[in-house]
C-alpha cells in the first residue's frame, strides 16, 4: 500500500531527525513563492532544489519519487497542452496542425501560461513531497501546532491518522475475504464493493464508540490537549535556518527579477 510506504519512508529517511519546523518553513515558503511567481524560472529552480534534497540529502529511492511525481506531471502536461491550444491571441501562432479538417493553433501566450502552470504544479508537488517523504506525520503535528493551527484540528488529525491504518487493515482483510470466495461478474463486483463500503462504514461507527470508551477509561474529560505530549524539544539550528532563509530570499529575488518574463 502506497500510504504505508510513504509513512515508512518518512520514518526512515536521512532527514528524519532534522527539526520539523525547518522542513515546514522550507516547504511552505518555497511553495508560496512558487505560487506567487509570474515566470516559470523560480518554480523550476524550486523544483530542482526540492528534488535534489529529496534524492541526495534524504536518499529516497528515485523510483519511489518519480512514481509519486507521475500524477502532477500528468496534470501539468495536460494543462500545458490545453492552455497552449485554447488561450492567447490569434496573432501570435507558434505552430499549427490539422486533425480531421480542424486546424489547431498553438498560441504563444497560451504556451507560456501552460508552461507556468505546469512548472508551478511540479514545483508545488515537489515541495509537498519533500515534506511528506522526510517528516513523519507524528512530527508534522508538532510543526502544525507550532504554526498555530487550532488544537482541536490537530487532535482530530492525530486520531484520523492513527485510525487510517486500522481502517486500511480492516478494509484489506474484508476485500481479501471477498476475493477468496470467488470472482464474479462486473455487476457482482460492484455489489460486493458497495457491501464492503457499507460494512466498513458501520465498523467505523463501532470503532468510534469503542474509542470513546477507551478514552473515558483513561480519565478523558473532554479537554483538548491530552494528546499534546512532546518529550524532545529540539532547538532550531541557526545555520540551517539561515541557509533556508537565504535560499528563500534568493528565490524571492529571482521571482521579482524574472516577473512577467517568458521562456518562449
Amino acid at each position: 500500500m502506497i500510504y504505508s510506504t510513504i509513512d515508512t519512508i518518512a520514518h526512515t529517511n536521512r532527514l528524519r531527525h532534522i527539526d520539523t519546523r525547518l522542513k515546514v518553513i522550507f516547504s511552505i515558503m518555497t511553495l508560496l513563492i512558487t505560487v506567487a511567481s509570474t515566470s516559470p524560472v523560480p518554480p523550476i529552480l524550486a523544483f530542482l532544489t526540492a528534488t535534489i534534497l529529496i534524492l541526495i540529502a534524504a536518499k529516497i529511492k528515485p523510483r519511489t519519487y518519480f512514481l509519486l511525481l507521475l500524477t502532477p506531471l500528468f496534470f501539468g502536461l495536460i494543462s500545458l497542452l490545453l492552455m497552449s491550444l485554447f488561450f492567447g491571441y490569434a496573432d501570435s501562432p507558434l505552430y499549427s496542425f490539422e486533425i480531421l479538417s480542424h486546424t489547431f493553433v498553438v498560441q504563444k501566450e497560451g504556451a507560456n501560461m501552460g508552461l507556468l502552470v505546469a512548472s508551478r504544479t511540479l514545483a508545488g508537488s515537489a515541495c509537498l513531497f519533500f515534506l511528506a517523504l522526510t517528516t513523519p506525520m507524528t512530527e508534522l503535528f508538532t510543526g502544525l501546532r507550532w504554526l498555530g493551527i487550532p488544537e482541536v484540528v490537530i487532535e482530530l488529525a492525530m486520531m484520523i491518522y492513527r485510525y487510517i491504518f486500522v481502517l486500511l487493515e480492516e478494509a484489506e482483510r474484508m476485500w481479501l475475504a471477498s476475493q477468496m470466495r470467488g470472482e464474479g461478474s462486473f455487476r457482482t463486483k460492484i455489489e460486493v464493493f458497495s457491501m464492503l463500503a457499507g460494512t466498513l462504514f458501520l465498523r467505523t461507527i463501532h470503532q468510534g464508540e469503542i474509542l470513546f470508551v477507551a478514552m473515558n477509561s483513561r480519565c478523558y474529560d473532554g479537554e483538548t490537549n491530552s494528546l499534546a505530549y512532546q518529550e524532545n524539544k529540539t532547538k532550531i539550528s541557526i545555520t540551517a535556518l539561515s541557509a533556508i532563509l537565504l535560499f528563500e530570499a534568493v528565490l524571492a529575488f529571482v521571482t521579482i527579477l524574472t516577473r512577467n518574463t517568458v521562456l518562449i
Binding site: 507524528t138 503535528f141 477507551a214 473515558n216
Partner: protein
C-alpha cells in the same frame, strides 16, 4: 481485605438480553483473579462494570467499601483507581505515537510535565518498550501493541488493573512476557483481575477463579477447588487444564498419586515418586567414576535415569562405576552397576535481586560484579525474571536458560541436580523464596537457596574526589 465487592449485579443490554443475572463477586486486594468462561458468558460485561463504563440496572458495585458514584467526579476517581486494558490493543492505542499514547492518561490526571515524563519513562521501561517511544502503533507487532496498552494504563498508577483477555492473539513468548509484566505489577501490590477462557493460564496463574456461565457465577474459589469440580467444568463449556487431564490418566494407571496438579512443577512432583533414585542399590563394576561427578544410573528394569548423584562416601562401596559410553561434553555419563547408598543431591538456587525500574533498574547494576558472581558459582543454569533483570542479562550478553516460567523451571532444574542462578527484579524476590519453600514443604526434598545481594553501583556523582 476486599478492594471490590458487588452485590446482586444485574445488567441488561438495550436489546433485552440479560448479560449479568443477579451476581455477587468480591476481589481481594493484592490478589490475581481470573474470570473464566466461554465466549459470550458475560466476562467482558462484568469487567466493564468495574470501572463504571456500564452501570448495573440492579445491584451495587463497591470500590474499597464505597458504592460507585457515577457522576463526573466519581467516575474520575474510579478510573484513576481501576485501570482497564482492552482485548484489542488497536481499540486502546489512539495516539499517533507510543509516547503520546502512554502520556494520555497522566495528562488527563493533570500531572506536571516532569511527573508525566517520569511516569511515561517508567511505564515504558517496565514493559520494555522504551526504544519504541516515537513509533506509531501501526509499526508494532500485536505483542508490542499489547505491552504499550498496558504501559498506558500503568502510567496512571491504578491500584487495580483489569484486563480483558490479556493473552488473546499473542504467541507463546508474547503471552509469557505479558504475564511476567503483570506478575511484576502484582508483586508491587496491585490487584489484577483478568478475563480469559484459557484454563491452563487460569490454573497456573490465578489466586482465585470465578467461573461465569450465561451471565451467572457458577462457582468461585482457588484453582484447585475449581478444577476439582469436573461436572461444573464440562457444563460451562470449559475443559480441565492439560496437567489435570494428564494427571487423571496417569492416576488411573497407578503412576501418579496425591493431589491434582495445576502446574508443571506439581505435575512432576506427582509422578516423580516411582522413579526416585534415592537409595538405589546396584552392583558395581569398573572404577571410572568419582564422588560428586555427574553420573547416570541404569536401573534394574532397564530404565535409564540420568541424574546428578552424590555417592555416599560412608557406604561400604566407594564411589565407582562403569562408564557405559562416552558422553558428549556437558552430558551426563551413564554408568552401570553401582552399589552403595546413593543420595540424590539437589542443586542450589542462587537468587540475585536486581533493582526495580523505579530504583534505577539495570543502570544501577555493575555488570562486572554480575560476571564475577556467575564465575564464582559455575556451572550454572541462568534465569531472569522481571523487566530490569532481563535487561541486565541482555546487556551483559549472558545466555539465559529460562526466561519464561522462571521459578518453576529453576526448581525443576535444581531437582535434576543443577545449580541455578536467577536474576530477579526487586519486589519479586519474596515470591521466588515463597515458591521454593512451598516446593520444599510439599515434596520433602530440600532445595537450598541463598540470596546474593549486589553492592549498589557507585555513581560518579557520589564518589569523593
Amino acid at each position: 481485605m476486599n478492594i471490590i465487592d458487588a452485590q446482586n449485579v444485574t445488567y441488561q443490554y438495550p436489546d433485552g438480553t440479560k448479560a449479568l443475572d443477579d451476581i455477587d463477586f468480591s476481589f481481594e486486594k493484592g490478589s490475581i483473579t481470573a474470570i473464566l468462561g466461554q465466549n459470550g458468558a458475560g466476562k467482558s460485561t462484568l469487567l466493564l462494570h468495574l470501572n463504571a463504563t456500564l452501570r448495573p440496572i440492579n445491584g451495587t458495585v463497591y470500590l474499597k467499601g464505597e458504592p460507585l458514584a457515577y457522576d463526573k467526579k466519581g467516575l474520575h476517581h474510579i478510573r484513576r483507581t481501576v485501570g482497564m486494558v482492552f482485548q484489542n490493543p488497536d481499540d486502546q492505542l489512539f495516539a499517533p505515537t507510543v509516547l503520546q499514547d502512554v502520556a494520555f492518561g497522566p495528562k488527563n490526571l493533570k500531572h506536571t510535565g516532569a511527573e508525566i515524563k517520569h511516569r511515561v519513562d517508567e511505564a515504558l521501561r517496565l514493559v520494555g518498550m522504551e526504544a519504541y517511544a516515537d513509533k506509531p502503533p501501526h509499526f508494532l507487532s500485536g505483542g508490542q501493541k499489547k505491552r504499550v496498552a498496558i504501559a498506558g494504563v500503568i502510567a496512571m498508577k491504578p491500584e487495580i488493573i483489569v484486563l480483558d483477555e490479556p493473552t488473546a492473539g499473542l504467541d507463546p513468548q508474547g503471552c509469557a512476557e505479558i504475564i511476567e509484566i503483570l506478575d511484576e505489577l502484582n508483586a508491587e501490590g496491585r490487584t489484577i483481575i483478568f478475563s480469559t477462557h484459557d484454563v491452563d493460564l487460569a490454573a497456573k496463574w490465578a489466586d482465585r477463579i470465578y467461573v461465569i456461565h450465561e451471565g451467572r457465577i457458577k462457582k468461585h474459589g482457588s484453582p484447585s477447588q475449581i478444577f476439582a469440580d469436573h461436572t461444573m467444568i464440562s457444563e460451562t463449556g470449559l475443559r480441565l487444564p492439560t496437567f489435570v487431564q494428564t494427571f487423571r490418566e496417569l492416576k488411573v494407571r497407578g503412576i501418579s498419586g496425591g493431589d491434582s496438579p495445576l502446574t508443571m512443577l506439581n505435575f512432576i512432583e506427582s509422578v516423580s515418586k516411582p522413579f526416585d533414585v534415592v537409595k538405589v542399590r546396584c552392583a558395581v563394576a569398573g572404577t571410572d567414576v568419582c564422588a560428586g561427578e555427574k553420573v547416570g544410573l541404569v536401573m534394574k528394569d532397564g530404565m535409564v535415569c540420568t541424574t546428578r548423584v552424590d555417592i555416599d562416601m560412608n557406604a561400604e562401596i566407594t564411589a565407582s562405576g562403569r562408564v557405559l559410553y562416552n558422553a558428549m561434553a556437558g552430558e551426563d555419563i551413564v554408568v552401570g552397576g553401582i552399589t552403595g547408598t546413593l543420595t540424590q543431591k539437589n542443586g542450589n538456587i542462587y537468587i540475585v535481586p536486581i533493582p526495580r525500574v523505579i530504583e534505577g533498574g539495570s543502570r544501577a547494576v555493575d555488570l562486572v560484579t554480575i560476571f564475577k558472581i556467575i564465575a564464582e558459582h559455575e556451572p550454572l543454569k541462568i534465569g531472569a525474571m522481571g523487566t530490569s533483570a532481563k535487561v541486565v542479562v541482555r546487556k551483559a550478553g549472558i545466555h539465559c536458560d529460562f526466561d519464561v516460567d522462571v521459578i518453576q523451571s529453576g526448581i525443576l532444574a535444581a531437582v535434576r541436580g543443577l545449580n541455578v542462578m536467577v536474576f530477579v527484579t526487586g519486589g519479586m524476590v519474596d515470591r521466588v523464596i515463597q515458591k521454593i519453600e512451598c516446593h520444599n514443604k510439599h515434596s520433602g526434598q530440600e532445595i537450598k537457596f541463598s540470596t546474593i545481594t549486589l553492592q549498589p553501583k557507585i555513581t560518579s556523582g557520589v564518589q569523593v574526589p
